[in-house]
Symmetry: C2
Amino acid sequence: MKGKIQPKTLPGFMELLPNEQILFNKMKETIQRTYEQYGFLPLDTPIIEDAKVLLAKAGGETEKQIYRFEKGENDLALRFDLTVPLAKYVTEYYDKLSFPFKRYQIGKVYRGEKPQRGRYREFYQCDVDIIGDGKLSIINDAEIPAIIYNTFKNLGFDEFTICINNRKILNGLFLSLKLENESSEILRIIDKIDKIGSEEVKKELINNIENEKVETIMQFISIDGNNNNKIKALEDMKIENEIFQEGLDELKQIIKFIRIFGVPEENFKIDLTIARGLDYYTGTVYETFLNKYRNLGSICSGGRYDNLAEYYTDRKMPGVGISIGLSRLFFQLIDNNIITAENQSISNVLIVSMTDNYDMCADIARNFRDENLNVQINIEEQKLGKKFKYADKLNVKYVIIIGEDEIKDNVITLKNMYTGEQQTIKLEDAIKIIKEN
Amino acid sequence: MKGKIQPKTLPGFMELLPNEQILFNKMKETIQRTYEQYGFLPLDTPIIEDAKVLLAKAGGETEKQIYRFEKGENDLALRFDLTVPLAKYVTEYYDKLSFPFKRYQIGKVYRGEKPQRGRYREFYQCDVDIIGDGKLSIINDAEIPAIIYNTFKNLGFDEFTICINNRKILNGLFLSLKLENESSEILRIIDKIDKIGSEEVKKELINNIENEKVETIMQFISIDGNNNNKIKALEDMKIENEIFQEGLDELKQIIKFIRIFGVPEENFKIDLTIARGLDYYTGTVYETFLNKYRNLGSICSGGRYDNLAEYYTDRKMPGVGISIGLSRLFFQLIDNNIITAENQSISNVLIVSMTDNYDMCADIARNFRDENLNVQINIEEQKLGKKFKYADKLNVKYVIIIGEDEIKDNVITLKNMYTGEQQTIKLEDAIKIIKEN
């Protein structure tokens, strides 16, 4: 075998350099940690499922994007989200689960989309869902924004807004206007408001609907002010429709409990223009935006659905949940210089030996690891310059140098690679310095 | 759509119940944490690769087991281990990496094996490898057992043995006996010693090889005693072969440094009968056994290889590494009652409200989460009995009950679900109790 094969990662598949991977994993672990703090149970379903099971609910665009293949006699497919596997799971293990079933799942999903910059065919979703057995308290819909808030807070963000709406308000409005059959089309037009502005939305609506009804819709989507003002304006519209009133009641409840659950007023708002797809969500819907980067689109979305597993069971299982598309979000944050992976290092310290005697190095490493610090011993036969170049490339902040003098005097030389500062001190003092940094 | 689709996870695919998943994740995180403490960088390569790239090195049994399929014009395959993707990665990003490149990867791999009890088609591998550029110090081969030792120690095991051998010793021995062409066959026979015993091994060898040479081989594989005795016995064999001597020198170095790196004498031993496959490994080899469950087979294996990426590049990249097959190991540990998932809970405490007033519940939850504890608020409208049944099913140890009296007096009622003990105390005291447990 003479010719070498060119090793190449497929287009549309994210593969990171180590410093980026460290940062990516930190974000993933922060999300996981936050989900766990709210008591969500971990789940890890297979990536490969029976195509018949996985595609029970799919259709149209999704089905075209699916990775589907045969192996032996099996018709297989790779999961394209984490919601269908959840529906499968709660149906299959119903008897062994306790409801409300709160689970998180963080894992890769697959969609054979046309590769574009920042759009991946393999990407991480980080989901939480709360599934009820028959019913599920509306207060859960208020806990979800608290989870979104704490997740992004823990990720280091301050200026973001969780936008909340309720599909029942939209549906009730359309019913009251006898526009229920046009609702998809109207929602599609309203959805463009961020891109084309309200004047253009109005023009498009007038092409389809009677003027007077357009006025009501425009009045509705232009409702402004703080959350209390919006609720008041919705009440003042005096829409005589049960579903509208139900949605409004739910929204009022949710706003009340969001406050109780500690989400600051500046981090959430009622946004009557968001609708999130057309069929799936039946009540509350969420989208989340970075205030200064609204152009990135929603970075965390979800909502309430009446019936999670209707394709698998007659049992009614309502749920509410959200998803963070982490791979895409990570790409966007790096691409817009909102975060940087430049100084990421897995090791807290690199130990460099100037002699053949590794006893002291091993002893030091053990002491650091006992303190839950990460430490690497450089054990290659290299010149000192090369060892420091290696440390540089690893972005490691501290290097410990052990030569004959250090061994004799039972001290260590600690170099801060960021400042160049170097000092010869006792091991305990070095541990203290590194733990504090 | 009237008929429901039967939701069913494919055979050979591990899917755990929440309490099992909690334990599985704890083990996975312990392994990850230990790998990081040694300064290994994280890596997360795609599960789907170009089949041509992935199968460059494969053949025979592996190729038959591979999940391979087409999507559009692409010939794709799912990774069957984490080593080939590593070879791809270090070649593709060579200029951007610093060597020795120390990486860990924990992820799912796919092999379409015949489903058997405890054998999975999708399973986790947890790998560490150290890759050199041109050369790699033998001391790395001694750090690997230290990593194995600390990993299993951190997983809660004490009685395990890391078995170490060096392929050069075996190869040198065969060369000195002019049996190099029979070496695969001989190794295959020797490998069965655990199953069939040394007498049967001897009989099989005699069928193939001259008596006198069999005597030397039997003398070799029956070398016994402690590690120092074994080294002495190998020296005493006076095998005049350069490769044998090189292997012996390496083994002596490794044993010296394993001790320096702090692996206790009872947790490692030279085992001249282990060979680990035939082509891949070129020097040190490792297998790890639970002393009381040797029948489980090796729970962590690996070794030294001269040339990681020879199918992709002319650059010589020697490496040393190990792999833990976590899915299978987890199955075996549960199946043999070595570990149990029975009492696993993600939440430290469940808060149960007896009133409609959730302010205090939310406040308590926030206090717990600030202490890095996991807490769930039960917000369903259920009778108290049902709430406690829910707590029971979650295996949660502590329940906090908030009724009108608690709100009035600003205290909480804490119930230990394991002992039934119940006390009404201040929040700070409850936090203290739960943190200590």
